[in-house]
Symmetry: C2
Subunit: 266 residues, 2 copies
């Protein structure tokens, strides 16, 4: 079983991704997870809702989700983007079904209502935070679809244990899902050639990382790549044997990633 996470950038070559999935799905079951951050930001801007970013006390930045931001999130992720991807897949002959973590409690998360954030040198408490961390997967629903030859196309948000909608980190959810479904190979596609030793030099791709040594590479991780490394660590802890970070803008993005054209963690 292959889990493919595709980032939310606008330059992702979705036709290429679909062609690869169509081919690879002849040989193994495939699950797709996707982002939609760029469209989320665009809709927020058009609605004049600022996207608020916060920094955790340990220095990791993320988007702050209040109720208004969650509405925009729902418009972009399971609405506009998920359904456009699903339709595109059907155009390529892929029998896709789009779901978000809320559906059938696909992704259940521990809500984190109070959030500690760093503002300059101070640490502040934010209330009414609508995020959480995925802890439980409805594997029965995913397997049901896979057994009947559907390809699940999944995105956040998730459902909290109190049945409220919460935004959750996608890479973390992918790691938890990989563990729950005993998946050994995970592909992550984004708009970069892989993990770069120098984020300004696209020729500095780190082609291989020993999976036990992920921590050592945190220093090379620029901005949101830090989260990717934490997600990868979690995936390795959950039993994933190989993680392929690849460039979603290439002609055959999934195959190239699997062929080691990006960064392989194994």
């Amino acid at each position: 079983m292959l889990l493919i996470k595709v980032g939310g950038g606008k330059q992702i070559n979705w036709d290429g991704v679909c062609q690869d999935i169509r081919q690879l799905s002849q040989e193994e079951k495939i699950i797709v997870v996707h982002g939609a951050s760029v469209q989320r930001d665009e809709i927020a801007a058009r609605l004049s809702i600022p996207v608020k970013t916060v920094v955790s006390p340990s220095g990791i930045s993320s988007v702050y989700t209040d109720e208004e931001a969650l509405d925009v999130f729902l418009m972009a992720y399971p609405g506009l983007v998920n359904k456009q991807i699903v339709a595109r897949m059907h155009q390529h002959g892929i029998n896709a079904v789009g779901l978000c973590g809320v559906d059938g409690k696909l992704w259940q998360a521990k809500a984190k209502k109070d959030l500690l954030v760093k503002e300059g040198n101070k640490v502040k408490l934010l209330k009414d935070n609508r995020t959480g961390r995925v802890e439980k997967i409805n594997t029965e629903l995913i397997n049901l679809l896979l057994e009947h030859d559907y390809i699940p196309v999944i995105c956040p948000p998730s459902l909290s244990f109190e049945s409220e909608i919460v935004n959750t980190d996608n890479d973390w959810a992918v790691a938890v899902m990989a563990e729950a479904l005993h998946i050994r190979k995970v592909v992550f596609l984004f708009e970069a050639p892989g993990l770069l030793r120098d984020h300004l030099n696209k020729d500095s791709v780190i082609s291989h990382i020993e999976k036990e040594k992920l921590d050592e590479f945190l220093e090379f991780a620029h901005k949101r790549m830090k989260k990717k490394i934490l997600g990868a660590k979690r995936a390795v802890e959950g039993g994933v044997e190989a993680i392929y970070w690849g460039d979603g803008r290439r002609e055959t993005p999934v195959k190239d990633a699997l062929n080691g054209k990006g960064t392989v963690i194994s």
Copy 2:
């Protein structure tokens, strides 16, 4: 099996609907279809995208869907509204899974790219119309979910036979779905007590309509109720034995409709 279509108004008592569904689902399988027209219009207004209405040569008005309008539709229907309904159902202990017609080709539609519309006394041809009419249902996917005790919560848009996303009339889709699944009872909830003999007098509810005589009631149908009558006719032709039009604002909206508190077509 009971099919419940809930309109897209903001005054629908969703907690009441959920409580009824929770109870009724102990005895029979339930499928929910919903609208989201009010939220669609709100998002369109906030994005400064005017909702364009057109009138067919036979005098039936409907929303004109171009590509921009379809994007808004996706934000509202399978995005914001579907997921909020699904989460609400989980809060009431209902194991809901939200899908739109695009997912797994759930609702396949014949696209209608060219549209004849009446403007004053003239008939004009509009191109690039993104609507269609539902003709084919993926009953396998719906039955798969029902057999595993999920309640499907379905909304438009649909997938055309060319795998493009198209807006489709909800009441018509409900009728085609009822036929494909051999459903005998369909409940329609909206923000009115039923079909009114005089649309300005809420005490003029027509409590019963013989299903063979639906045509005679077209004259009482105000605005969008015309489409409901055409949808009901299609449902009756497809084998539906009883249609219950009821007020979604009541305390127990589904049960009241089934108990004949609105308009019963049988």
